[in-house]
Amino acid sequence: MIQFNIEASSGIPIYRQVFEQVERMIVNGYLVEGTFLPSVRQVANTIDVNPMTISKAYGLLEERGYLTRLRGKGMMVAHQSEEKSKKEKMMILDKMIAELVSDAVQMGINKQELLTLIADKAEQLNLTDNINSQG
């Protein structure tokens, strides 16, 4: 069962949080093509939210090509083209980096310090220049 981490009091609507969490799980390969998602009612019951909220998130995921609706069977993870996946990955990273940079600004860290931190981390994790070779 997928674990959702919902913050009801956050300024981000709950359907957005569900959408983004499923999106991440699909883009990073945790949910593979053909996997069925739990039903709207199941998710709504587990995380105590209005089922309409989950329907909305699933609908949006379908619209964006992450999920396919199979009549009577539910929502299945759709085939993700490599080109599209790459683009989505970059977009997700872009968002995370924006948050990171804005936090760094608030802490008074300058650009060079931040870049050095990132480069060090990449070094530690053996990130090569050619991202594709990491699979």
Binding site: A8, S9, G11, R16, V49, P51, M52, K56
Partner: protein
């Protein structure tokens, strides 16, 4: 429309509580009615149900004038008052049997389930129950005949955190059946964030804001512009804005993305920050 309210006014002595209030509610909506203490939430609910009639204006419930509801329509409505004023000398068991007589449809299984889940001793008199337990009995009574329209006045107020969660869960289950319309009033925003799909804010005698909870969160946001000419910047749709040397801050009811793009192209930094419902509520009712 499940509820159609038009020009509803009500005052007590010299105090105007509802002022020509208009409000339409569609079938299937789960609505959190937010208002500060004393905003008139109970007055509005009592006027909708004609328990304490309005001075003027009209209310249609499930297509009928609320002053002349047929018994069939009455049976489709469930209501939980803020205060327990049920017959206190009856035991819970007796009260349930008494109430059951008034309805053609009554779900005994659901009643039994909730009684056991909430550990209510049905041999106790209503007057012997704690406030929270009494509230739970009222909720059970309101759900037993499986109404199409349910109105709860501060339902969670007397419940402990576990009871609140349980009650909200019950609302979630009801909401799963998309034909049910649910309104519950509260002054605690966290009570409605998980279950309501719409939020209505009662302020100064009117419903000043009524929209999808998601829209409210996406549209009502903080906008700040970092700029060297703060005095020239006017944030569109701002409900309040203030500026200091190099920054203009404001809360908007809608983001003007064209305006944002234009400012950014001129080299200004425009930041948008989402707000919690609690902050939004406070901003909209200043």
């Amino acid at each position: 429309m499940t509820i159609q309210i038009s020009k509803l006014s009500k005052s007590y002595k010299n105090q105007q509580v509802l002022t020509e209030l208009d409000w339409s509610i569609k079938q299937g909506d789960v609505i959190g009615l937010l208002g500060k203490n004393g905003a008139g939430k109970s007055t509005l609910i009592n006027a909708i149900l004609n328990i304490n009639p309005a001075d003027s204006g009209s209310v249609a419930l499930l297509g009928e004038d609320n002053k002349v509801l047929t018994s069939e329509t009455k049976a489709r409505i469930g209501y939980v008052p803020q205060q327990n004023d049920e017959i206190s000398w009856l035991t819970v068991k007796e009260l349930i049997l008494f109430k059951k007589q008034f309805y053609a449809h009554w779900n005994d299984k659901k009643v039994a389930q909730l009684l056991s889940r909430w550990q209510i001793d049905t041999n106790k008199k209503m007057s012997e129950l704690s406030v929270g337990q009494g509230q739970r009995v009222l909720i059970i009574l309101a759900l037993a005949h499986e109404p199409d329209l349910m109105i709860f006045d501060e339902p969670a107020a007397a419940l402990d955190p576990a009871g609140r969660r349980d009650f909200l869960k019950e609302i979630v289950n009801l909401a799963a059946d998309e034909n049910k319309t649910i309104i519950f009033s509260t002054h605690i925003t966290t009570d409605l964030e998980r279950v309501a799909n719409k939020v209505a804010i009662l302020h100064q005698g009117k419903i000043c804001h009524f929209d999808d909870l998601d829209n409210v969160k996406e549209n009502v946001v903080k906008v700040s512009v970092i700029t060297d000419r703060a005095s020239d910047i006017k944030i569109p749709h701002a409900i309040n804005a203030h500026q200091d040397n190099h920054q203009v801050n404001g809360v908007v009811t809608q983001v003007d993305f064209l305006w944002k793009k234009e400012l950014e192209s001129q080299g200004h930094q425009v930041d948008i920050t989402p707000m919690s419902l609690e902050d939004i509520f406070l901003e909209l009712t200043v």
